[in-house]
């Protein structure tokens, strides 16, 4: 349903000598209909940029993005606007995702009006139906976003999105700004609507536990590139790339007796203006060899759709 090929986004910086921040540097992946792909990575690795690129909220430098066999980067303005309602996004900060001057009900009514989904008379009914589905009370319809909590606002955002029956949703860390108990409710809600509407999702998060319960497939991103892609269960049970292994080892475990080997990565994530030569992870990799500094590893399929870009797995 969604297919991304060699997607690149360079942001230019510097006034006199042009330098480029390689936020997204040659990404390729696919999401099947009804599937949820989790995009994982550290802060600043380009996850959010990928989400916005796929919806063409920002223009990529290079690459192809297919939505049901149409390359959305080739669409003109008019056709793109026709396609827009099929693809929606949930942002990280629910409080700024709603117009502060609009009541919740007005925000939900907006897409209904825009696309004339239900007749004028049926609108109110549709709004209360949506409100109920996402677990808000009817009284919230006449409230402003600043009068509601983050969790309630996020529910309103979901109601607003569901109003236009999207097929594909990018969820950009939808729970990371919420309290832990609210997070769980929100994930439950997302799972519910995903099943009910048969949604295809790109779920962006740095929280591996959230990813584990929410996704079918995982793509691990490091410095604008994918390092490992595979089924969620395969990756949690047998991550191959040293970076994925390090990420997984950082998940807290409840049992204090449990023995676990914590892989602690040294150093900081390198500057994407000057990415390291060869494998971009080699500066922090505990297993690096000479070849890692020279040659960039290719994505290799190691069976059952599990792909990894590492010289140590040839």
């Amino acid at each position: 349903m969604i297919k991304v090929e060699n997607l690149k986004k360079y942001f230019s910086t510097g006034m006199f000598s042009k330098k480029y921040v390689r936020a997204v540097d040659g990404l390729s992946f696919a999401i099947e209909k009804g599937e949820t792909l989790g995009l994982v990575g550290e802060s600043g690795c380009g996850k959010t940029t990928v989400g916005r690129l796929i919806l063409r909220l920002i223009e990529p430098t290079e690459g192809k993005i297919f939505f049901k066999n149409t390359n959305i980067l080739e669409l003109n303005k008019k056709d793109l606007r026709k396609l827009r309602p099929k693809m929606q996004i949930i942002f990280q900060d629910p409080d700024s995702s709603l117009d502060p001057r609009m009541k919740i009900g007005e925000s939900i009514a907006e897409p209904l009006k825009l696309y004339n989904i239900v007749s004028k008379n049926g609108r109110e009914e549709k709004i209360s139906e949506l409100i109920e589905m996402v677990g808000l009370n009817p009284e919230h319809i006449n409230r402003y976003p600043h009068e509601l909590s983050g969790g309630q606002n996020q529910r309103a955002v979901i109601a607003r999105i569901l109003a236009i029956n999207p097929k594909f949703i990018v969820a950009d860390e939808p729970t990371s700004s919420l309290d832990v108990n609210v997070q769980a409710q929100m994930l439950f809600l997302l799972k519910k609507v995903r099943e009910k509407f048969g949604l295809t999702c790109l779920f962006i998060s740095h929280d591996l536990e959230v990813i584990k319960v929410m996704t079918d497939k995982i793509a691990v991103m490091y410095l604008g590139k994918l390092v490992e892609v595979g089924k969620t269960s395969d990756i949690f049970n047998g991550a191959v790339h040293p970076y994925t292994q390090a990420l997984l080892s950082a998940i807290p475990v409840l049992d204090p007796e449990a023995k676990r080997k914590r892989i602690v990565l040294g150093g900081e994530i390198p500057n994407p203006i000057n990415p390291p030569s060869g494998c971009s992870f080699h500066t922090r990799c505990p297993y690096r060899e000479r070849i890692c500094e020279i040659e960039e590893p290719m994505m290799i399929d190691i069976g059952d759709g599990h792909q990894v870009a590492c010289h140590l797995n040839r």
Binding site: R84, S96, D99, R101, E110, L114, V157
Partner: protein, 281 residues
């Protein structure tokens, strides 16, 4: 935020006085036909240049027209003209500023350079020049004032738009498939308009002063329209023999401008410090 401003204003005595005067003037303007004793245009050469008396509380002018009636009607003209000028300045300033801020890039650069040029030019001289080219009439004066007055508003709006357009609800609206003009009208402007409304109130006194001043110079309202500035101009030939012709319209102008300045100062104090800085210029 609006409630807070009102509460702050209530504490400010000068602002309250300003509001009361403005309300009285608005009342005068609306009910002018019922409040004036004579037709402000009615010429009566037998009663010319009368001093204030019971029949004519403020006297009559050189054509025997009742001065009180003319001043009451003048409220209508002056306040209507100032309101219209302010509204037009706001509409132009806000629209252009919002377009510059939202689209950015070349559009923004082009608009902001025009703004810079206009701001670097003495606006009164430009207004006089434009009004002179268009020909003297109240409407042309308003157009001339709009042509020079929008720049300040554009600058303020552009700044606010630059911060609002980065908010996620704007991106969400784009993802919904909303067009740019729809987003500007429905999401951007409602979120940046309130400081502008406040600034417009503060500028109101200045606008009235400009209109009466330019009318005094003969660029605005033309005789026999009962406009305060034009009345001052009429009266200046009789300054020594019938000073009331200049004193009363002059007093009215002073009172109105003072009232709006009191309200404006109060509003500025009631506002958040960020806006206070913007208006310090």
């Amino acid at each position: 935020m609006r409630l807070k401003i009102v509460q702050q204003l209530k504490k400010d005595k000068m602002a309250v006085i300003g509001v009361i005067i403005i309300l009285i003037l608005a009342f005068l303007a609306i009910f002018a036909p019922y409040l004036s004793l004579y037709d402000p245009m009615e010429v009566n050469m037998e009663n010319r240049l009368l001093t204030p008396s019971e029949k004519h509380p403020l006297g009559t002018d050189q054509l025997g027209r009742d001065l009180l009636s003319r001043i009451v009607y003048g409220t209508r003209v002056s306040i209507a003209a100032a309101t219209m000028a302010t509204l037009m300045i706001m509409i132009f300033g806000v629209t252009i500023g919002a377009i510059a801020g939202y689209f950015g890039g070349v559009v923004d650069q082009a608009i902001m350079r025009v703004v810079d040029v206009l701001l670097a030019f003495p606006s009164l001289i430009l207004t006089i020049a434009i009004a002179g080219i268009l020909g003297p009439s109240l409407m042309n004066l308003i157009i001339a004032m709009t042509a020079t007055g929008w720049v300040g508003y554009s600058r303020i709006i552009r700044g606010s738009v630059l911060s609002v357009k980065e908010k996620e609800f704007i991106e969400a609206a784009r993802a919904m498939g909303c067009g740019n003009l729809y987003i500007i009208a429905r999401h951007i402007i409602p979120n940046v308009i309130s400081p502008v409304i406040v600034i417009a109130t503060i500028d109101m006194g200045h606008t009235i002063l400009s209109i009466t001043g330019l009318s005094f110079l003969g660029l605005g309202a033309q005789p026999p329209t009962p406009e305060w500035g034009a009345m001052l101009n009429d009266g200046k030939s009789f300054m020594t023999t019938a000073p009331h012709l200049m004193i009363f319209p002059g007093l009215m102008i002073m009172v109105v401008v003072l009232a709006f300045n009191f309200l404006g100062d109060g509003l500025r104090d009631a506002l958040d410090p960020r806006l206070r800085q913007v208006m310090m210029k």
